[in-house]
Amino acid sequence: MSTYVYGITASAPAALPDGLTGVGELPVRVLTEGDLAVVVSDAPENLRPKRKDLLAHQNVLAEAGTAGCVLPMRFGSVAPDDKAVTGVLAERADHYKERLRALDNRVEYNIKANHVEEAVLHHVMAENAEIRALAESNRQQGGGSYESKIQLGEMVAAAVQAREAEDAAALQRLLEPEADAVSVGPESTGWLANVSFLVDREQAETFLAAVERARRDLPHLEVRINGPLPPYSFVEPGPAEPAGTAAGGGADTGAE
């Protein structure tokens, strides 16, 4: 029976709720190895990245993280069996302990932002006389020719894009001082900013207040915040050596 892995903690999480289930609605268990513990369940047959299971993964980590720091695995990590999991834990214990110490009492807040279209168009028009003039001329001609519409749209799109970069930077500048670390997430057309902040639990209120200030300062942005989350964006990759082959072969954590 293969084993699905959720995350690594410093010691067995005391307070996992009874009957907690994970992917495939399978019961969640805790394996221990030395000072470390790992939250697992059986891996369902044919595990796929379905929304329900993604949520289950996140939910298990949220529960495991209430008691203390958890190093979250990326979704979909499956080991051949429990023994393989504890084997990896034993082999790289130093590395994981170092990470757990570094991230102790810290949580991730992920911030994503989009423009409010109407508001950003107002900005763009207000800042750019050329765009205003072209828009005005188009309107007087009942919308303008196809070519002039394209021309206007192209200018507006370029201006909006420039604003995206500026606003993303501005948002990050406003929040950075309240965080211990910052991790910029992948770009996408789904957002103009996607930045994760590592925040001390005790400083969470201060950070959230900064987010509120940023919302007020940048009202043409729709700012979305998610957290506190396990520090997904701050678990550094493990040691580089491929360690899958020899169990307990002494391949250790390298740069510690």
Binding site: V5, H115, H122, E136, Q161, A162, R224
Partner: protein, 140 residues
């Protein structure tokens, strides 16, 4: 099914907040080479769903149309839902700073726009917003 108990999901506990978290679950977190990762074939779909090509004729026409509408609306009476522009003019002079390939967010912008119109109280982190059902479906 509760996603993130006792959490800030500002921008809505709705589908966009959900997507925002799932993105982290999928793209970040610890990867251990000794473990197999599940095939992520389905995930490409999840990602592509929010991607729109902005540098397109459709987008340009849409923006042109939006500008047209915009001025009509904001003539003498300003839409009360709009933020106060005067106070928010941070940095201008950024024209021409665009970096070539457009990465803008036409579709998401229009989502945000719709959502904003549905009246989200501005400064409330937990502001409830009716969800964009389109996204929700896509995440199935």
């Amino acid at each position: 099914m509760s996603v993130v108990p006792a959490q800030q999901t500002g921008g809505g506990g709705g589908s966009s907040g959900l997507y925002d978290v799932l993105e982290l679950v999928l793209d970040r977190g610890l990867v251990i080479d000794a473990f197999v990762r599940v095939s992520l074939v389905g995930i490409e779909i999840l990602k592509i769903d929010v991607r729109v090509v902005v540098a397109s004729v459709d987008t340009y026409l849409r923006f042109a149309e939006a500008c047209n509408r915009l001025d009509l609306e904001s003539g003498p009476r300003k839409d009360p839902g709009l933020p106060d522009l005067v106070g928010t003019m941070t940095e201008s002079g950024a024209r021409g700073k665009s970096k070539g390939a457009l990465s803008g967010a036409a579709e998401t912008i229009s989502d945000a726009f719709k959502q904003a119109r549905e009246g989200e109280p501005e400064s409330r982190p937990r502001a409830r917003r009716s969800t964009s059902s389109r996204r929700k479906e896509e995440q199935e």
